[in-house]
Symmetry: C2
Subunit: 305 residues, 2 copies
């Protein structure tokens, strides 16, 4: 197996995780969560979203959270930005990096952004231009890169089309999202073969959801294809509100177990991520979905017997 010595994990739990949780998390708890994550060795944390609170009420305190967290100089604190109004607020809150988003599938884009793909590009371009004028890098999320809840399998051609446009705009990195967690390694391989014919691996991060248990298998295949950047969310939080049956992001601590055991460096302390996951689990008042956390709970209840 040809594997990289080192990979980078981008923590998206505070945003992609919490945005779909119904239990209200206070601003102070969000700040503490980000601060706990800041002590784990992570270099990238997506903190919040500037999508209108009407759509994501959980993250209505985006400005307050970004302003209250304790910043570390080695960490990039990013936020999701849908449009110019969002960008304004994000810059006001001194975000380090901006993430824009759209879908590879027409119907998911319509459902999620309320616009056809073609009409989404100009809105995002404005954000990219504005962010770059403010000297911020922009990351581009592409959702439904393998499967769409409405259209089924998505051919790499559709991902290529959106990739091309986003890179032309000046996006520095693309996060390829298997938003509803339907992908299997053969599909990941096919998608990456097509993308890597045109672009270097460094342009992409992989964003898997573990809805069908295939996330770690897809990460292994991605590693073998030369990918070294992976999104994950502590506790396996999150999902997609528009995708029925979709459960959470692949859990950071599960990804860390895999990398740690394979001798691939991440620079992240798994134990400290588990402490952050325990913190948010308590605040959410429900068992989070990661395998590592299930083991922690089992061990605790065994010790109490």
């Amino acid at each position: 197996m040809q594997l990289p010595k080192q990979v980078m994990i981008k923590e998206v739990g505070p945003r992609d995780g919490l945005q779909n949780e119904k239990t209200h998390i206070s601003t102070a708890d969000k700040v503490q969560l980000v601060n706990l994550l800041g002590q784990t060795g992570l270099n990238y944390i997506e903190v919040t979203s500037f999508v209108h609170p009407k759509w994501i009420p959980q993250l209505a305190d985006a400005v307050e959270v970004l302003q209250a967290i304790k910043r570390h100089k080695d960490i990039t604190y990013a936020a999701l930005v849908p449009n110019m109004r969002g960008l304004e607020r994000a810059l006001q809150a001194e975000v380090d990096e901006v993430s824009i988003f759209m879908s590879a599938s027409e119907s998911h884009n319509q459902s999620n952004i309320n616009k056809p793909i073609e009409d989404t590009f100009p809105i995002l371009k404005e954000v990219v231009v504005g962010a770059k004028a403010a000297k911020k890098h922009v990351r581009g999320y592409i959702s439904t890169v393998i499967g769409c809840p409405y259209e089924g399998y998505i051919h790499p051609d559709k991902v290529l089309r959106v990739t091309e446009k986003l890179l032309e705009m000046g996006v520095t990195e693309i996060s390829l999202g298997d938003t509803i967690g339907v992908g299997v390694p053969t599909q990941v391989e096919f998608l990456l073969e097509e993308l890597l014919k045109r672009y270097p691996a460094e342009k992409f991060a992989m964003h898997f959801h573990d809805t069908r248990g295939t996330a770690l298998a897809n990460i292994i295949k991605s590693l073998e294809m030369g990918m070294t950047k992976f999104d994950s969310a502590l506790g396996g939080l999150g999902g997609c509100p528009y995708a029925k049956g979709a459960s959470g992001n692949v859990a950071t601590e599960d990804v860390l177990y895999l990398f740690d055991e394979m001798g691939i460096e991440t620079g992240i302390d798994r134990q400290k991520v588990l402490e952050a996951a325990l913190f948010i689990e308590e605040k959410l008042g429900k068992a989070v979905a990661s395998k590592q956390m299930a083991i922690v709970r089992n061990e605790r209840s065994a010790n109490q017997r």
Copy 2:
């Protein structure tokens, strides 16, 4: 990716799954479970265990279950047999195939079988000779082939040592068990490289537990190494009572999702396996651990809203 066109799934849920479940399942329900599994297209079902009921009270009705199930001529109905007394009962119940078991790690063997590895061989040999005299194939389980709850990482040399002995005795197939679900693909690759230097792939089946979410990744790596036989348990039932924190076998329906989406034939109807999983979930009175079943539950609750 070099993949086989076709694989064989061996269902171990009624034995390896139920043996660790505390909720009592009636003989009639076990029979119905096996009969439901018999309609899915599976060719191999491990029905029960002839380990002394003192150790596994859940399966004390092994003879009754084997005698009451509806047999299909294309299906091998197997059972676990620890010794000559167990073999006698298994043959009386007209089992099709016998499974013996031991561990690659000394301390797990001691804990599970209450004997050192060397003292286990003669007992198993007697069973193999007896089973073959009755014209039954014998399958050999090796537990803890990657990690042991007491000793940590297990080197392939220890697996080779037990493999050699079991094959010498006349075992027709060896099931390699990552009993506590600690394995990652690099370890699976190293183990199989060592084994395949000496033996053909057909001699082995892979038996993964999904305790740390790595089972499907390990199955993919095994497929790439030429393996075509996989054990799994509907609903992800089971675990290991001697291994703290160990959760269940990889779920048959999750493995089927992976194979179905990758275009690898199994001959098994995933929907029918889900029906059997729903049946046993109801009898156990708790949510089973498979990803596919979580999706079924999500969809049902969404439809009820």
